[in-house]
């Protein structure tokens, strides 16, 4: 069942319409007819190089941005961009930004996580229960009384996810969730995402890390120049060399190194 669908989205960020300053081949649209379908229960990776439109597309999925052309559908119905419509949508589709400082604002983590539930009109007791559950789900139960700036980047990322989880969304949308995390931080984050997906949550995340997509996604959409150029099962899309090359995700130097195989002998500094 398709939960969320973007159809032919076009969008240009304000201030980027000055076509006169663009060099030939450059475009001024962040999205140029992007379409994407999100199925229930999927783990969808949105892959693409820098500037391919991944983040902009994700911002459309919960109505944060409104497309200049095209439409977004939630459970088959066009998004209602009224105040009430957006409030209802954001209860179902929660977005976590790449930079946690874009969304953490309150004096303590617990207060920050309570923002979403209180916006849903829940009473203080229910909001407090959700805060405790969400913080525990991302392993930050002990740090709820601390302000965001006393935490590490990885902890702030998880706090941002807790803020989204507390709204009990059906779809969790994450923009570059592993950016800036060390391998241990990535493992912790993926463990938590595993648990959430196991509870039936649909997860959509953007990345340009092929290994992450291979490891964690069961479905992949590939973006290039504001369009989705391929979408399908992860094992099919991720091993299609032409698609990977078209999306600009293959480093030429790494590819050459891969072809050359491992070094024949240990480098001198190792001996």
């Amino acid at each position: 069942m398709i939960l969320l669908e973007a159809i032919g989205l076009r969008y240009a960020w304000p201030g980027t319409k000055a076509a006169a300053v663009l060099t030939p081949g450059q475009r001024n649209e962040a999205l140029a007819g992007a379409s994407l379908a999100v199925r229930q229960g999927t783990r969808l990776a949105l892959l693409g190089g820098n500037g391919s439109g991944k983040s902009t597309l994700l911002l459309h999925l919960n109505g944060t941005l409104r497309p200049a052309m095209g439409e977004v559908r939630w459970q088959g119905r066009m998004l209602d961009y009224s105040r009430r419509g957006l409030a209802a949508l954001r209860q179902s589709v929660a977005l976590v930004f790449q930079d946690p400082d874009d969304q953490l604002f309150a004096g303590t983590l617990a207060q920050d996580v309570s923002f979403g539930p209180l916006n849903l009109g829940l009473d203080a007791a229910e909001a407090a229960r959700r805060v405790a559950t969400a913080l525990a789900a991302v392993g930050l139960a002990e740090l709820g009384a601390l302000p965001p700036h006393m935490l590490s980047h990885g902890q702030r990322k998880r706090a941002a996810i807790a803020g989204a989880l507390a709204m009990h969304p059906a779809v969790l949308v994450l923009d570059e969730p592993t950016a800036g995390l060390d391998p241990e931080g990535i493992d912790i984050l993926l463990d938590h995402l595993d648990a959430l997906h196991g509870q039936g949550m649909t997860v959509v995340f953007s990345t340009h890390d092929l290994r992450l997509a291979r490891h964690w996604a069961n479905e992949v959409a590939m973006m290039r120049q504001g369009q989705v150029i391929a979408h399908g099962a992860a094992e099919r899309v991720l091993y299609d060399a032409r698609v990977i090359a078209a999306a600009g995700l293959q480093s030429r130097r790494f590819a050459e190194a891969d072809r050359a195989g491992p070094p024949r002998k240990d480098p001198a500094w190792l001996s």
């Binding site: 911002l59 944060t64 977005l95 969304q103 604002f105 309150a106 004096g107 207060q111 009384a145």
Partner: protein, 251 residues
């Protein structure tokens, strides 16, 4: 210093006792403002320092270090009050006994008030005093603004630190002329960065359902009857002692 005080406010022994600590500090402040300064200033200053360092376990180095800079300003201002200038027979500079007395009274009062303010800053976290302001029926819009400014201060401070490091690494502070230019560039860039940050935060809050208000749960706070009693009793006792001492020394 900003971060050290913030960290201390969130981790000191009294960080959950925001109500009694706020009452204690308000009482001390009233005492230093209303009682005769020659007695109240030192008494309140010592009490505030003792409460912060011994009671709340604020590191002494942090407390005294944070006092130094404003005390320096205070000393400079007090010295200025002690001096008289005359122009009757050319420029003459002299010491004024009346000015010195005023400087002593003002300086002691200000130093006491400073110690109380610092005691409050080091022991009550921002979320705590904002919750107290909310209970005091401060307009919500003002509280929202306070919360955003408080958070943005730290986000921008991160940006400031990285920016200055980057300029320094490229020899931006190697001469006085370069230092001025780099500082000006950093300030201009920080202004632009703050606008960008504000736009991004607005988008982030919109994605979480922000419309026109930032509702958050109040932080967990604890208070015991003994705590309230101490918070009210100690400043009252100090006030009475200050009045008694002042009468005794004829101040």
């Amino acid at each position: 210093m900003l971060r050290a005080i913030e960290a201390c406010a969130n981790t000191n022994r009294w960080h959950r006792h925001t109500g009694p600590v706020a009452l204690f500090c308000a009482g001390l402040m009233a005492c230093v403002l209303l009682a005769p300064p020659l007695a109240a200033g030192p008494l309140v200053g010592v009490a505030a320092g003792f409460a912060a360092i011994v009671g709340a376990r604020v590191p002494a180095r942090l407390f005294l270090g944070a006092l130094l800079v404003p005390l320096g300003f205070l000393l400079t201002s007090a010295l200025a009050l002690c001096v008289t200038l005359g122009f009757d027979h050319g420029l003459t500079i002299g010491l004024s006994a009346a000015g010195a007395a005023t400087a002593l009274r003002t300086g002691l009062r200000a130093a006491g008030a400073l110690a109380v303010t610092l005691c409050f800053a080091c022991t009550v976290p921002a979320a705590g005093w904002m919750a107290l302001l909310r209970r005091a029926r401060t307009p919500e819009a003002l509280l929202d603004l306070l919360m955003l400014v408080h958070r943005t201060l730290f986000v921008l401070d991160d940006a400031r630190v990285s920016m200055l490091r980057a300029l320094d690494n490229r020899l931006g502070f190697s001469t006085r002329r370069r230092m001025l230019r780099s500082a000006a560039q950093a300030m201009a860039l920080l202004f632009l960065r703050s606008l960008d940050r504000a736009a991004r935060l607005e988008r982030g809050l919109a994605a979480r359902g922000y419309v026109d208000h930032l509702p958050v749960l109040p932080p967990k706070a604890v208070a015991s009857p003994a705590g309230w009693l101490l918070a009210a009793g100690v400043p009252a006792l100090l006030g009475a002692t200050a009045f008694g001492l002042a009468r005794a020394i004829g101040a």
